[in-house]
């Protein structure tokens, strides 16, 4: 397979995953705000912060309110993470790799793009937002289902899988970060205790992990087991260990993957979160997550070196 096509397929998968996660994140945040005690001042701006997009956001908006944050995440053209930009990127990439992905991918991508373009306003206004986001999530899953159901497990499939899993791992760290940040930001201890379960519950929900967590862990929703589950579970498809294993399995099927395997082993070993005798996770957990994000960025660099066009 052409190196350039490999790169485009990888990005198609990353962007597709990004669209779904972003849609999920917004829809969960919406509900989270309804549930928290009024004394908790949780701002929409946190969504910008956990995605490291303060600078880009502040360049456009001065008011840090819900409307602007949602607009920025859904429709802002200058934000390459926004749903609209990501879909545009998916469309460009699928357009240039139509020869290696299932035939209907192109048509489904067009349908989803047309839907989002025509209904963007619904996402910004709260009354129809849920329905709008649900349709996006379903559209992404439809494309993913197509790939799973009809694509031979060839080089292109492995690259799609690698792209999807590295993006997922990254998104899982960001969701965990959203949880720990929300808690660290609260000054009132009583509010923290009351909100604990709500916040970690929403982190699970936003990764579609609440049900699986309960069945696997069989304990109440608390910070430490949630972190452990999302970092180290072997079976849940959005846990970071699972994502790294999936990348390793696919990398093994592709040429020149030795460096990548070494790095994957190292990151996997560094995942476990240390409990330092306290009841709650503290600021050091945030550090831990940041370290994983840096490692994932390095992994991305190794993927480039192994398979993509050399400039």
């Amino acid at each position: 397979m052409l190196s350039k096509v490999a790169e485009r397929v990888y990005w198609t998968a990353r962007y597709l995953e990004r669209v779904e996660s972003t849609a999920r994140m917004i829809s969960i945040y919406d509900q989270l705000l309804f549930d928290l005690p009024r004394s908790v001042k949780l701002s929409w701006y946190n969504l910008i912060r956990i995605n490291n997009q303060e600078e880009a956001f502040n360049a456009i908006y001065t008011v840090l309110d819900e409307r602007n944050v949602v607009k920025f995440m859904l429709s802002e053209a200058s934000n390459s993470f926004s749903v609209a930009s990501s879909l545009k990127a998916i469309r460009e990439n699928v357009r240039t790799t139509r020869d290696v992905v299932p035939k209907d991918t192109w048509e489904m991508t067009n349908e989803l793009s047309i839907f989002v373009q025509e209904n963007l306003l619904q996402g910004v206004n709260r009354s129809k937002r849920h329905e709008f986001l649900e349709t996006i999530i379903k559209g992404c899953q439809q494309i993913l289902g197509l790939v799973y159901g009809s694509m031979p497990h060839d080089d292109a499939w492995h690259l799609l899988r690698i792209g999807r899993n590295i993006e997922r791992a990254d998104m899982t760290t960001r969701n965990l970060e959203a949880g720990i940040s929300a808690i660290l930001d609260m000054e009132d201890e009583l509010a923290v205790i009351n909100s604990h379960q709500i916040i970690w519950g929403k982190v699970l929900r936003s990764l579609n992990a609440d049900h699986a967590y309960r069945r696997t862990k069989r304990v109440a929703v608390k910070d430490f087991p949630v972190a452990e589950y999302l970092l180290e579970d072997d079976e849940f498809p959005r846990s970071i260990r699972y994502n790294l294993n999936a990348i390793a399995n696919s990398a093994r099927e592709l040429p020149h993957s030795a460096d990548l395997e070494v790095a994957l082993n190292r990151i996997t070993k560094s995942l476990p979160v240390k409990q330092n005798g306290q009841l709650f996770l503290d600021a050091s957990f945030k550090e831990h997550l940041n370290q994983i994000q840096i490692e994932l960025a390095e992994l991305h660099g190794l993927i480039y070196q192994a398979w993509f066009p050399k400039i």
Binding site: L2, R98, P255, H256, A306, P309
Partner: protein, 485 residues
């Protein structure tokens, strides 16, 4: 309310569907019977459905506009154009004959040049042709075929006869739209396909693949075939991607390939370099190889000509094939058919006046207001003068151009291009002028598409069918007419 077909009038023009008011031509009878059952609302609904389908299928073309490239949805009219099968078979035979002679001509030009020595074509025409490439002299592509893919433009004049308007032997485009038009029709008007015997067209990409495979310099191996595109900003990028996907071959850009010291072409894959056997190129000659032609070109591959001359890679169409895609050469095609095949041309040319000839030039200059004047080597409908629609200033400008470079211009009578009914917003059914571009393949075997791409000038009275200039298209049906009158 249903549409009143009795009021549809195409005036003096030959209409493809309607012979006399309210009366269908023989091959279109079943179609018209069906169309008459549709109400105005149904037409509007189907038209809307077609537009939606085109968006979802992502059928588009790219135009260059101020401030960048715009992707436009493919313009399509839902009323098909119907051609009788007997007439089509005859036309297809004429197209094969024509391409066969043209390939013998190109091969001759790059070898012995008998055609010049025997005085069939004046030597200076070739010497002054910018599409004649001395770098190709002495090269012998397999089967003697240089132009493997040809898109010939046919028009019907007032007499209902098909004339050849031009041969596109360089990088003709449009075949993907022909195929997509049929897919759109099947979704939008599925019921007509149940009732009418319409010849299928879907085997084109398989035929294209076989044709390209037959060119491989390593016939004992499974050939590695690629489609070489200039990239996403090219107006026909949609087609390049479509054809690569349909054939299951790689879509590459110049930067994806490299020629090594062994004079073989390789593409850059995730496992390293992989040898390429056949290149279906969709970029012009001058951009193919910066070592030989345009030094600035980043679209091509350095060393490609070396590899081709060494016989290590096949290029379709071969470099230099464009020499026969010259509107002056066009005028000689009937003579070339006679010369190489000793046959009479099955398909007639449009009468053509060559401006390098003093007498013919004088006629052209005296009749600029009646004629169409075309430059010899442009495509896409650019740089021409349509006399009856021109201003005095434009005519004066063209007179100067012709006198400055007579070799480079031809004149043709303004044709009464045939029409077919099209659905036009706010007006309902109106006649629109159209042409037809069938595609002919030649390597080991020769193949002609069943019908072709019908292009329509969507503006009232316009004769310009190019999609870059407001043209649309229709599905083209080849239909066996019932024996009974």
């Amino acid at each position: 309310m249903s549409i009143d077909w009795n009021t549809y009038q195409s005036g003096d023009f030959y209409d493809e569907l309607i012979g006399a008011p309210g009366q269908a031509r023989k091959p279109a009878r079943q179609l018209l019977d069906y169309l008459k059952t549709l109400s105005e609302q149904e037409y509007a609904d189907r038209k809307k459905a077609a537009e939606l389908t085109i968006q979802e299928m992502g059928v588009s073309f790219t135009i260059y506009a101020e401030g960048g490239n715009i992707d436009r949805a493919w313009p399509f009219d839902i009323i098909p154009r119907v051609i009788d099968k007997d007439q089509w078979d005859q036309t297809a035979a004429g197209l094969k004959q024509r391409l066969k002679a043209l390939n013998m001509f190109i091969d001759d030009l790059y070898h012995e040049q008998r055609v010049l020595k025997d005085g069939i074509i004046p030597e200076f025409i070739i010497k002054d042709s910018k599409n004649y490439l001395p770098e190709c002299e002495g090269v012998s592509p397999i089967y003697g075929t240089w132009a493997h893919i040809c898109g010939t433009d046919l028009v019907r004049d007032g007499d209902g006869i098909f004339y050849v308007l031009e041969d596109n032997l360089r990088v003709p485009s449009g075949v993907s739209y022909m195929l997509e038009n049929r897919s759109i029709m099947k979704r939008v008007l599925p019921e007509v396909f149940e009732e009418i015997d319409i010849a299928p067209i879907g085997d084109y990409t398989a035929q294209l693949f076989d044709m390209l495979s037959a060119l491989s310099p390593r016939p004992e191996e499974t050939p590695v075939i690629v489609v070489l595109t200039p990239g996403i900003y090219n107006s026909a990028y949609f087609e390049h991607a479509f054809l690569a996907q349909q054939m299951g071959v790689e879509l590459v850009e110049g930067s994806d390939m490299v020629v090594q010291d062994d004079n073989c072409v390789y593409m850059k894959t995730i496992s390293g370099l992989e040898r390429v056997d056949v290149i279906y190129r969709r970029i012009d000659d001058v951009f193919l190889d910066p070592e030989v032609f345009n030094k600035e070109s980043t679209l091509g591959v350095a060393g490609l000509m070396r590899a081709w001359r060494a016989g290590n890679v096949a290029i379709a169409n071969a470099p230099g094939a464009g020499v026969a895609d010259d509107k002056v050469i066009y005028a000689y095609v009937p003579a070339l058919i006679k010369y190489y095949l000793d046959e009479e041309a099955i398909l007639p040319n449009v009468e053509t006046f060559l401006c390098f000839d003093d007498e013919e030039r004088a006629y052209v200059l005296a009749n600029l207001d009646k004629l169409v004047v075309k430059p010899a080597n442009e495509s896409g409908g650019y740089g021409m003068l349509v006399g009856p629609h021109s201003t005095k200033k434009e005519r004066e400008q063209f007179a100067k151009l012709i006198e400055a470079n007579p070799r480079n211009y031809i004149g043709q009578p303004t044709l009464a291009l045939s029409t077919a009914p099209a659905i036009i917003d706010k007006f309902g059914l109106e006649p629109r002028h159209l042409d037809l571009r069938p595609f002919i393949l030649q390597s080991k075997n020769t193949y002609v598409t069943t019908g072709g791409l019908t292009r329509v000038a969507m503006k009232r009275g316009s004769l310009v069918v190019n999609s870059s200039q407001g043209g649309g298209s229709k599905d083209t049906w080849i239909v066996t007419s019932e024996a009974k009158e």
